[in-house]
């Protein structure tokens, strides 16, 4: 639960960035270029004298937003594909699962790089691409769940009562599979944040001047040896948030699955 608090706190701080941040994210102060962390500039300043703490706060807004958005997309798409494949079985199942296999077999990061290089780099398209490349895990898990739930007595009963297929899947099957879906979704948030930062690092993410944790890091690499704080802090931000989300997923797994041995 502590992880949830940490995540919410950071997300709230980033959302409230215009209120909390001591400076404007693009305020250039040429008298305060490349300063080490101090009381005035908690995380130091970059080569244009912009306050890094402010930029990390603002960067978090997009990074976290991209994480949430693409996780939602991946979970939605994965659940849909998995549920349809598992419920209908047969030919539909084979087609969808072969498609999943194909999507799984193409190395994800290189493919992500290629796709990202096609789009104009705004937050939404980055989130969509990341989401569209990470639904396969959820699809497989959901399919397996649906396959076993499909033959249970309460589903039979619902069918006997004349419930529509959509209702059976939506109201009777999926709620029982919510555990693995939610756990998968939290892990997807962390992975998407890392994927965004990797893309930005290669210069394919959201473009400056709007900061994200990834492009802050990309800017920092060239001066890493002289101004290390520019590299350290944005990375720490990513690390803490992803860590919090993953712990959350882990906790949820134990909470939602009573059979899981907590280790």
């Amino acid at each position: 639960m502590a992880s949830l608090v940490v995540f919410v706190l950071i997300a709230a701080a980033c959302l409230a960035a215009p209120v909390i941040a001591p400076y404007r994210f693009d305020a250039i102060d040429l008298r305060a270029m490349s300063q080490a962390p101090s009381l005035h500039h908690l995380m130091g300043t970059d080569g244009l004298g912009r306050d890094l703490f402010t930029r990390v706060l603002y960067g978090g807004r997009l990074s976290i937003l991209i994480g949430l958005l693409s996780a939602a997309l991946a979970t939605g798409a994965g659940t849909l594909v998995g549920a349809v494949a598992g419920y209908y079985g047969g030919f539909v199942d084979s087609v969808l699962m072969r498609l999943t296999d194909v999507a799984y077999a193409i190395p994800s990061l290189p493919l992500l790089i290629v796709l990202a290089s096609f789009t104009q780099a705004d937050a939404t398209s980055i989130a969509v691409i990341i989401g569209l490349l990470s639904w396969m895990g959820t699809a497989r898990v959901v399919r397996a769940e649906v396959l076993s739930l499909r033959t249970t007595a309460f589903v039979e009963a619902a069918r006997a009562l004349g419930a529509s297929t959509r209702r059976i899947i939506g109201r009777h099957i999926l709620p029982n599979a919510v555990g693995p879906i939610v756990v998968g979704a939290t892990l997807a948030v962390g992975n998407a944040i890392i994927a965004e930062s990797s893309l930005s690092f290669l210069g394919l993410g959201v473009q400056a001047p709007v900061p994200t944790w990834g492009n802050l890091l990309q800017d920092a690499t060239s001066t890493m040896a002289t101004y290390p704080w520019l590299t350290i802090f944005p990375g720490l931000a990513i690390l803490v948030v992803v860590l919090a989300v993953n712990f959350l997923g882990d906790g949820l797994q134990d909470a939602l699955d009573p059979t899981a041995r907590s280790s």
Binding site: S108, P110, I113, F201, L202, V242
Partner: protein
């Protein structure tokens, strides 16, 4: 008497199984090639961009001739079929920016990438074994908690950031290790080579050490509670033998198949790692080709990467069957 079943004389020959799986790979590869081809076709730019990228005005006739030579003026399905038949004979076309055959470019860079992946894999296996076994045997000890913390960090850390931090610490501050390239120019000794390999290989292995050690830990905890372990203890075997031979051998079965599966996405990690450390492998070539919009090269590498995934999946299944005699090759 050992409680681990001996390697089974197969009633279903493994070779037949492998053969059938190889046949199943053909439609998969077709599907993959189709997807990749569709994606690359959707690229804005294309070969003209490579030519026009120089900023000079290009004679329309020269452009048309260029397009014709590269075969991009034909209908898309024709291009696909031609590309596919060529690819089957090992011809992946030529690079738009260098004009050299893509397959040769890949082959030149492959050793560097395999070396990096191999070293990372080795480090990851050894470290994960040590970490996983120790954590399980001393469950809830300080070491176990440290190990858990380390794994969570390892999984949550962006690969490139870890790489940057290692460069900063070992390269810039301590000056112990070189931070880029595969060898110092003019000093091609083995020691120099290894020095260059340490940082990138460690970076690439981190995530897998974290994942596998967790996996081995929980698998081993399960095995340590199994009846055959109690039997072994009851016979008075030394703890070392009980854990090392009986429990670990069985606990490794699921872990090994995960390892083989992950071997394939080591390649994704190599793209980032090679870029940060200027390692002259396929990953870095991929990023360079991406900036140049050199799509024959991108396609060739993606295709090779996918083939690698399929082969490693097959390896995972076969290894699983060898380690666990209960699995039948159906």
């Amino acid at each position: 008497m050992r409680h681990v079943a001996p390697f089974r004389a197969t009633s279903y020959p493994v070779t037949a199984y492998i053969g059938r799986r190889l046949l199943q790979m053909i439609p998969m590869m077709l599907g993959i090639s189709l997807v990749l081809f569709a994606i690359i076709q959707a690229t804005p730019g294309g070969p003209e961009a490579a030519l026009l990228g120089t900023g000079r005005a290009v004679d329309p006739q020269a452009l048309a001739a260029y397009r014709h030579r590269m075969g991009v003026d034909e209908p898309v399905p024709v291009q696909y079929v031609r590309w596919l038949t060529a690819a089957l004979s090992g011809d992946l076309g030529e690079s738009f920016s260098t004009g050299r055959p893509v397959s040769r470019m890949i082959l030149e860079r492959l050793p560097a990438t395999l070396e990096l992946m191999g070293a990372a894999f080795l480090i990851a296996v050894l470290a994960a074994l040590a970490l996983g076994i120790f954590s399980a045997v001393r469950q809830y000890s300080a070491f176990d908690f440290l190990g858990t913390g380390f794994s969570f960090l390892g999984i949550a850390m962006p690969v490139f950031w870890f790489a940057l931090i290692l460069q900063l610490v070992f390269g810039v501050w301590l000056r112990w290790l070189p931070i880029s390239g595969r060898e110092t120019v003019g000093v091609a000794t083995l020691a120099d080579h290894l020095k260059h390999l340490i940082l990138p290989a460690s970076v690439l292995s981190l995530r897998y050490i974290a994942g596998w050690s967790r996996y081995l830990r929980s698998s081993l905890l399960g095995a340590l509670r199994a009846d055959y372990v109690r039997t072994a203890r009851a016979k008075g075997l030394p703890e070392r033998t009980v854990v090392g031979v009986h429990a670990v051998r069985n606990a490794l079965i699921p872990v090994v198949s995960v390892m083989a599966l992950n071997l394939a996405d080591l390649f994704s990690g190599a793209v980032i790692t090679e870029t940060v450390f200027a390692w002259p492998g396929i990953g870095r070539m991929f990023v360079t080709a991406m900036y140049a919009r050199d799509y024959n090269v991108l396609m060739g590498i993606l295709l090779m990467g996918s083939l690698m995934v399929l082969v490693f999946n097959l390896v995972a299944d076969v290894v699983y069957g060898i380690l666990d005699p209960r699995i039948r090759y159906g």
